[in-house]
């Protein structure tokens, strides 16, 4: 359909020519496959919800309540779809990857091949960190404010929102090193400039921590500290790399 000005560097590189209609048809079929995977995953998820709720109930050592008539049902649905998304994510990522691949030049492809696994790994790591470290601590901290006369009766919908807000944002925030690397590679900022911005970055880490987590100090700090650590580690790595280049 279109002639490419730049040519690929790789010898095995073959430019696949497709018309717009073919692209759309492919997009359609890939979306359908992804949707089917999500649906199937959600159906499986629906049956996993009771077990998950039991698991959560153990963490708070009591049963959940629901205050609106439809709350239990909508929470069930939401959890089922979340589990479904998690189960279907490999298929969805694969479909997206296959769709994008023909549009890329070999060097672009190589960059993406390096960054995509790193990004997914960091996301999984962030979510795991949120679930294993932040969630128990934040929950204990917050429930600790209950007293003899102030008893928790946690609404299940709100609990789910809390749970999501201490796990998913960590997956997103843990992309920080990649963002830094890309910004430096493209030449938007230099390592030296980042160094001079250190104070700012530290401060902003705490701001981001406050914004993206539930309003408790624990999860805020637990988001800010990894951000700062990642910033420093990335900078240190890149400086080492630069010095090697100079030599």
């Amino acid at each position: 359909m279109e002639e490419r000005e730049r040519t690929g560097t790789g010898s095995e590189y073959v430019l696949v020519q497709m018309t717009t209609e073919e692209h759309l048809a492919e997009l359609r079929s890939r979306l359908l496959v992804s949707l089917a995977a999500l649906t199937a995953g959600s159906v499986v998820g629906w049956f996993l919800v009771p077990g998950m709720l039991r698991h959560f109930a153990q963490h708070i050592a009591r049963r959940f309540v629901f205050v609106a008539p439809a709350e239990a049902f909508t929470t069930y649905l939401k959890m089922a779809v979340l589990i479904g998304a998690a189960l279907a994510s490999p298929i969805i990522v694969l479909e997206a990857w296959r769709f994008v691949l023909p549009a890329l030049f070999p060097h672009e492809r190589r960059v993406l091949q390096r960054f995509l696994p790193a990004s997914l790994g960091l996301f999984a790591f962030g979510v795991a960190f949120g679930y294993l470290a932040v969630y128990p601590l934040a929950l204990r901290f917050l429930l600790g404010f209950g007293t003899e006369t102030v008893q928790p009766a946690l609404s299940v919908a709100r609990f789910l929102n809390f749970f999501i807000s201490v796990t998913v944002p960590f997956g997103l925030v843990f992309q920080f090193p990649l963002v830094l690397i890309i910004l430096v590679r493209i030449g938007i900022v230099s390592v030296e400039r980042l160094m001079s911005l250190r104070k700012m970055v530290w401060f902003l880490s705490f701001v981001v921590g406050a914004l993206l987590t539930p309003p408790d100090a624990v999860s805020q700090v637990m988001m800010a500290v990894p951000l700062i650590v990642m910033f420093e580690l990335t900078l240190w790595r890149m400086r080492k790399g630069e010095r090697r280049d100079v030599r």
């Binding site: 039991r54 629901f66 205050v67 609106a68 049902f73």
Partner: protein
């Protein structure tokens, strides 16, 4: 020439003033009627609430989470009840306002339409309250097993009931709307039958917007709506078969 036209303008202006005055009177009257109806409804609101709670499949005890919640829920209930009670009167006010512009026949038809419309509203709302509500509650509270314990708060409950009951009363006005649109030639039963699939789609979207935010109530509303669509189609066919004299 100019004097004549200015005199005409004055007459027109006075006419307009008169109409505005009438609007004012009718608005005030409607408001007062609405207020009276709401006060009346308030007197029955406690009993109505008891009755709603009796539609719950399990224990009908309820809580309120904010200090003002129970009061606000009662007021909301009273206003909704008042609106329903005042509905025919409000319709009459509108009809009376436009009646100078209507032919005798249309005026008579309008007067006939008010009780018909009110009857349809009550049928729709009553159907929703008597059939859909217990069904929906039984299904939704069926999730109150295992680790989930129902501890219904009054305000969401009242909202849920109102949003299930009132929209259906409004939707039951569809046959009347259909007759009008067919008579005016805006709607054609042949086109309606041909575009059925778009109608089905629209019905599901409308149901999603009007009902409490769960798929189940959406389906519960979409079902009767689909029946109503077919019913309207039938009415439209009948209305068209008899050409206007």
């Amino acid at each position: 020439m100019s004097a004549e036209s200015s005199a005409e303008t004055t007459v027109e202006f006075q006419d307009l003033l008169q109409r505005l005055n009438e609007v004012r009177t009718r608005l005030i009257r409607s408001f007062l009627f609405l207020l009276a109806a709401s006060i009346l409804a308030y007197l029955f609101s406690e009993r109505a609430l008891d009755d709603m709670q009796a539609r719950l499949p399990v224990g009908s005890e309820m809580i309120f989470l904010a200090p003002s919640e129970a009061f606000v829920a009662r007021i909301k209930l009273a206003l909704a009840g008042g609106l329903v009670l005042a509905f025919p009167f409000l319709m009459y006010q509108i009809l009376a306002f436009v009646s100078p512009y209507l032919s005798r026949r249309d005026r008579r038809m309008g007067l006939l339409l008010i009780p018909l419309s009110f009857g349809l509203f009550l049928t729709g709302a009553g159907f929703s309250y008597a059939v859909m509500l217990p069904f929906a509650l039984r299904f939704l509270l069926g999730f109150g097993a295992g680790e989930l314990e129902p501890m219904l708060s009054i305000s969401p409950f009242v909202n849920f009931v109102l949003f299930l009951v009132l929209p259906l009363g409004l939707i039951f006005q569809l046959p009347i709307v259909m007759v009008f649109l067919t008579r005016l030639g805006i709607v054609d039963p042949v086109v309606m039958a041909r575009n059925r699939k778009y109608a089905v789609f629209a019905i599901f979207v409308i149901s999603a917007v009007l009902t409490p935010a769960d798929v189940f109530s959406q389906l519960l509303m979409a079902g009767p709506l689909l029946v109503l669509y077919e019913f309207s189609l039938l009415i439209a066919r009948l209305a068209r078969r008899r050409p206007t004299p």
